[in-house]
Subunit: 351 residues, 2 copies
Amino acid sequence: MSTFDPKEHPHIRYNPLMEEWVTVSPHRMKRPWKGQVEKSEEEEIPSYDPNNSLCPGNTRSSGKVNPQYEGTFLFDNDFPALLKDGPAPSANPDPLFQSAPAYGACQVMCFHPRSDLTLPLMSQSEVREVIDKWAEINTDLGKKYTWVQIFENKGNVMGCSNPHPHCQVWASSYFPNDPAKKHRTQREYYDKHKVPLLVDYVKKELQKQERVVLQNEHWVWLVPYWAIWPYETMLLPKRHVLRIEDLTSAERDALADIMKKLLTKYDNMFEVSFPYSMGWHGAPTGDYLQQDNSHWQLHALYFPPLLRSATVKKFMVGYEMLAQSQRDLTAEQAAEKLKSLPDVHYKSQNS
Amino acid sequence: MSTFDPKEHPHIRYNPLMEEWVTVSPHRMKRPWKGQVEKSEEEEIPSYDPNNSLCPGNTRSSGKVNPQYEGTFLFDNDFPALLKDGPAPSANPDPLFQSAPAYGACQVMCFHPRSDLTLPLMSQSEVREVIDKWAEINTDLGKKYTWVQIFENKGNVMGCSNPHPHCQVWASSYFPNDPAKKHRTQREYYDKHKVPLLVDYVKKELQKQERVVLQNEHWVWLVPYWAIWPYETMLLPKRHVLRIEDLTSAERDALADIMKKLLTKYDNMFEVSFPYSMGWHGAPTGDYLQQDNSHWQLHALYFPPLLRSATVKKFMVGYEMLAQSQRDLTAEQAAEKLKSLPDVHYKSQNS
Ligand SMILES: O=P(O)(O)O[C@H]1O[C@H](CO)[C@@H](O)[C@H](O)[C@H]1O
Ligand SMILES: O=P(O)(O)O[C@H]1O[C@H](CO)[C@@H](O)[C@H](O)[C@H]1O
């Protein structure tokens, strides 16, 4: 029997943060319909559209009017999934019918007044403004809420129906499933190893250099060993940082720099505005601000669905919904591919 | 403050099988763009297509030729995600870089020789043949493998690129995340309450009658209290049954009956062939055949993505990928809607 080669032989890998395995089937990359990298027709988005509810000066469907904003613009979601107050369900002793109160705030932040821009096409100082705003939001909503989820859904395929560059924030009184689990797993690791899981992980990845795509003085961008999505990545500070508002000014500049490069490489992959969902995970807030959260390390997660071309995505369906996630190309192959891509945007090359 | 109404006020609900919460935002159903129920153009699928690799007599991309099958047709997946043997990764002491062996078998089963049929349009005895085949597969692959995942991806939106009615089976040497968790949670419940979690659950749901959509002598079809997808449902036997092959002949006939009705109601929702991923979960196999699995109860899960119309689905994206699942309409509202739909197929009404 030949020796094991992760690029050739099926295996499973463990995600110690989520306590979940992923099935890796690298041999499936050899399927005959592996598919070519097709250039998709990109829709021409106007810089300003009188019918786009996110543009400066326009009226939203709630009747509210946007100011003539010139940088970022933050407002309360007109149709929030969570509300600040209201009646709460009463406790039910039956373990099979458990519900609990859920309060929260939902906000939307436009990144830029122009609809035809995305983060990689914005200037570094404009991206820095977005980062400063994220820090402000996390501080503000964190005073009241346990968890502040900042996230961006980008592209139609990720349920984003408005092309204007924006992100969302859902802050909640409850600690959502995934970050609550990461709170526990990082605590257990810290208690056992006396070092935060993700700080240890980055140190090891920097030594191995098998999955690191990019780094600068303050940040590392890598494909996690346990990645699920074809080109899933994680962005982490080199220093131990609990929350986004704890970043120094130099770290924020360096973040703007690496984010621009990262998103440029993504766009260059299939020469299309790369769809993804992304978000930040850091130490919890609200009542947790009073507790020791040294086991946490701030990080951003990018989940892009495209697999083979601008028009062929990975479907997380039957097996993935019922059993566990599965991927074809390995994390190392994904990192290799991302490394090989230019970090000058394909659109700026043409101009 | 008014009293709590689950149809009006945001809350979270707990899934005791998966130990996960779902955010329920029923007030969002009032959004102005709630959307009309549009009839989508259905593609005309020919009964036989010389270019469809799943039709009787055709050659698949692997070069293998399908027999002139007249009922179901089972074959090994030409591009399996798992292989029967091969080299295995060696153990690594580092908890952050864990991998493990993964062996398995991947099969495809065509339900019927005709491409233009789906389960609800097949006769009850034809559906019964599919059920018998599922039982056979679970027995056969279960001799060797820990977990036999039978699943169907239906519709383009669920990553199914071949319209011919078929399901897949991925059997594995490892116990996948979700069923492994359900193995533990059902065991813990059984140890504590001396009754299987899902047997207890069905008993209570039959009393409450708030989420039960349909039942017959042997089966219950319901929207689970903790459902995530808009019209997610669960199908369970009334008797305590560990695995699909343990079903009696009468139970299999009753299953064919309720499945036809269930899938007919789904199709009638938006008068379109309703996309979904579905699959069976029952007691594990392989080495587990020698163990006591009384805590398990067999069930099928249906995860359909459509939300508002044949063309508007629920996106499980940013918040859902990073924090926790969220839904707008409640489980009770979904059950109500499903109950109200006719169980005569819209296509048969027209003929
Ligand atoms: O039917 P296929 O092409 O084997 O594959 C489909 O189902 C699989 C199992 O859920 C997924 O892993 C694939 O992403 C999906 O496209
Ligand atoms: O941008 P929207 O319309 O608020 O909503 C989008 O993101 C939400 C948070 O991930 C999801 O719950 C919705 O399904 C999605 O369409």
